[in-house]
């Protein structure tokens, strides 16, 4: 199949061999899990359990909030011992509302919805399937954690004709999708067919990077189940796994800036998401675990582990033999787009594709030196931006200037920072600028709201003063009339008496 040229990107040394040959192992049930109520893009889920309550595995503990949100389920059976703020797997080290469950050791499932086991065509409407995916709390497992049901709902807003399944896995070290494709290809393809049915699309494309030949083979075999599935091998180049870039590579459709892929008629889902969808429909199981790659030279036994959500990074690292040489950096996600973990107490969440313990030899944090204008960042930028100029504007405080040349189209892939020979933290500048710009936007909206309240109050007080004045005048007039009335009778009386 013809592939389309994608601009920019970088060649990386992948270091996937550390974990790519270790089969997925199930982690034993941890003693305790801390399940954050926001593991997805959108508004946090609201807790529906109380401290002291027993919950079964797969029981709903957080109901999706308003707007874009997702359900959260218990990943083990046991007792809820706290619903409180705990450290989030977020570089800020801030806390978030978390349900803490202590295991009862039984790992007993709660009552699950009736599975749909019938073969295709499914005896369910797309709406029913979509509701089941939403109820199961499935979010994009590639890392962005966008609620999947919302994506499947796109067909009612846009005309969608293509479903792209993302098996690119372009981040170094991360091998969880690779292993999943090799070991659970049939389940993935089943999930893909369910999603295609729910979306009513004609074209299904499964895209896998060329550096995973075994996954390609397994998936090709499994994909024979449905003739409308096309399997495509895409070149190994970072960031091929970005939804917009993958879509461009396999269909030639370019997603406009600040728009979703749905606007050009395609929806992109990750392979692990497809498997989660299959589990939710075929077995009724909500999303309670995910495969995480634990890797890096700082880990004694790199592995791909199926982890109950909410397991602490500490427990996970202990399961993988602990840390070997003391690592310099602990990362949640991949080395390019992941973020440092604030603490080993942070939990594994739906969006955690990896936990990496990197040693000094694996990081490249040289001292920053002046820009030499080599232009490598411009060539590398997959979004077609000019990182060098944007960083310069941001450095001197001109965020509006940076915005004007597209800083908000940055996909934060980190290719520019990676390629920069002067070790300038370019992507960091853009994260700062875009964060600050949205903070300013939020602030402006709040100020507008406050101003309208102030105006309403001023108008109200003016009106009240007017009414008071009118009332006072009326009182005065009444008083005068009364005075006149009381003043007159005596004269009459006087007249009468005389």
């Amino acid at each position: 199949m013809m592939l389309f040229q994608v601009r920019g990107g970088v060649k990386l040394s992948y270091r996937k061999e550390l974990s790519s040959e270790s089969p997925i192992v199930r982690m034993p049930t941890p003693k305790r899990v801390c399940i954050p109520l926001q593991q997805h893009v959108g508004s946090p889920a609201e807790p529906v359990v109380e401290v002291g309550q027993w919950v079964g595995k797969g029981q709903l503990i957080g109901r999706a909030g308003r707007g874009i949100s997702a359900n959260v389920h218990a990943s083990i059976s046991g007792t809820v011992i706290a619903v409180e703020d705990r450290v989030a797997p977020h570089p800020s080290g801030l806390t978030q509302l978390t349900v803490v469950i202590e295991s009862d050791g039984a790992d007993r499932w709660a009552e699950l919805p009736q599975p749909i086991t019938a073969d295709f065509p499914l005896p369910a409407t797309p709406k029913e399937l979509n509701d089941r995916v939403a109820a199961a709390g499935i979010v994009g497992l590639g890392g962005a954690a966008f609620p999947s049901a919302v994506k499947l709902d796109m067909r009612y807003k846009y005309s969608i004709d293509t479903l792209v399944i993302n098996g690119a896995e372009c981040e170094p070290y991360i091998t969880c999708d690779d292993r999943l494709m090799r070991e659970s290809a049939a389940e993935i393809v089943d999930g893909v067919r369910i999603m295609a049915y729910a979306l009513a699309v004609e074209h299904i494309i499964i895209a896998i990077e060329a550096n995973k030949p075994k996954a390609v083979k397994a998936m090709r075999e499994a994909a024979k189940a449905d003739s409308s599935i096309r399997l495509v091998t895409v070149p190994t180049r970072f960031p091929m796994g970005s939804a917009q870039h993958l879509l461009l590579a396999v269909t030639g459709r370019e997603t406009p800036a600040d728009k979703r892929t749905a606007e050009v008629g395609a929806v992109v889902h990750n392979v692990a998401t497809a498997r989660a969808v299959s589990m939710a429909i075929r077995r009724g199981e909500p999303l309670v675990s995910r495969v995480v790659t634990v890797s890096g030279l700082g880990v004694r036994e790199p592995a791909n582990v199926e982890v109950p959500l909410g397991t602490s990074v500490e427990d996970l690292l202990t399961f993988c033999g602990g840390l070997h040489p003391v690592p310099t950096l602990l990362i949640g996600g991949g080395p390019m787009m992941g973020a440092p973990l604030p603490s080993v107490h942070a939990p594994v969440v739906k969006g955690s594709s990896g936990v990496l313990a990197l040693t000094a030899s694996e990081t490249n944090e040289g001292p920053e030196s002046p820009c030499i204008r080599c232009g490598k960042c411009v060539t590398a930028c997959p979004a077609g931006l000019v990182p060098v100029e944007m960083a310069q504007l941001i450095r001197r405080g001109d965020l509006q200037g940076a915005k004007a040349i597209g800083s908000q189209d940055c996909i934060a892939c980190g290719s520019c920072s990676f390629i920069c020979p002067s070790h300038i933290p370019l992507a960091h500048y853009f994260s700062f600028a875009n964060g600050k710009l949205s903070a300013l936007d939020r602030d402006a909206r709040q100020q507008d709201r406050i101003r309208s309240l102030v105006q309403a109050r001023n108008e109200r007080t003016a009106r009240e003063a007017e009414i008071k004045k009118a009332a006072a005048a009326a009182r005065k007039a009444a008083k005068a009339a009364a005075a006149k009335a009381t003043a007159e009778p005596p004269t009459q009386l006087l007249e009468e008496s005389t």
Binding site: P370, R396, F432, I450
Partner: protein, 189 residues
């Protein structure tokens, strides 16, 4: 004689009238075409400021502050309750570039009522420019933090010192990366 006087009076009245009309027309035209432009930026800036006349900027009210900003006596970011976004908008209006370098480390604040101390006198409610305080007589009051713009008028008004300004802590939804630390090479000599 009588008729002569009448004519002279009519002439005088006519002349003055004509003069008046002529000058009036000239003045009217001049007012229209030769007028000095009124600086309407004052109005525009006043519309951007919160409009509650809290006087934290050091001027009597928002209109006066707006005039001072136009005259260059006050900085575009002189309004603490307006915050960074208002400062940006004002700066844009008067053509000044305000650098956003992330050095504004001071957290925004909002008023907070210590409920144990509140006696329910409603004095703060009457003072609050954006109706951000709810409560009734002899009922506890509380501040709606999302519409409080930290003018601080309630703090001085409270007879029991029950109101304090508290910093707004960043949350996962509002946190963003700080600006990368500038590693300036030390200038040689």
């Amino acid at each position: 004689m009588d008729a002569n006087m009448m004519t002279q009076a009519a002439q005088a009245v006519g002349a003055i009238g004509l003069l008046g009309t002529g000058l009036g027309v000239i003045l009217g035209v001049a007012a229209r075409y030769l007028s000095a432009p009124v600086d309407d930026r004052t109005e525009a800036i006043a519309a951007l400021l919160p409009g509650s006349n809290c006087a934290q900027c050091g001027y009597a009210g928002c209109k006066q502050a707006a005039a001072a900003i136009v005259d260059g006596r006050a900085a575009p970011n002189c309004c603490p309750p307006g915050g960074a976004s208002t400062a940006q908008r004002v700066a844009e209006l008067i053509g000044v570039r305000l650098a956003v370098d992330g050095s504004d480390t001071a957290l925004p604040t909002v008023a907070w009522v210590d409920e144990a101390r509140c006696i329910g006198c409603t004095r703060c409610i009457r003072k609050c420019g954006s109706d951000a305080i709810v409560g009734a007589i002899k009922q506890m009051h509380t501040v709606l933090p999302e519409v409080c713009y930290a003018c601080g008028l309630c703090v001085t008004e409270c007879p029991t010192n029950a109101i304090v300004m508290k910093p707004v802590m960043p949350t996962l939804a509002t946190w963003h990366w700080p600006k990368p630390a500038a590693k300036r090479p030390t200038a040689a000599a």
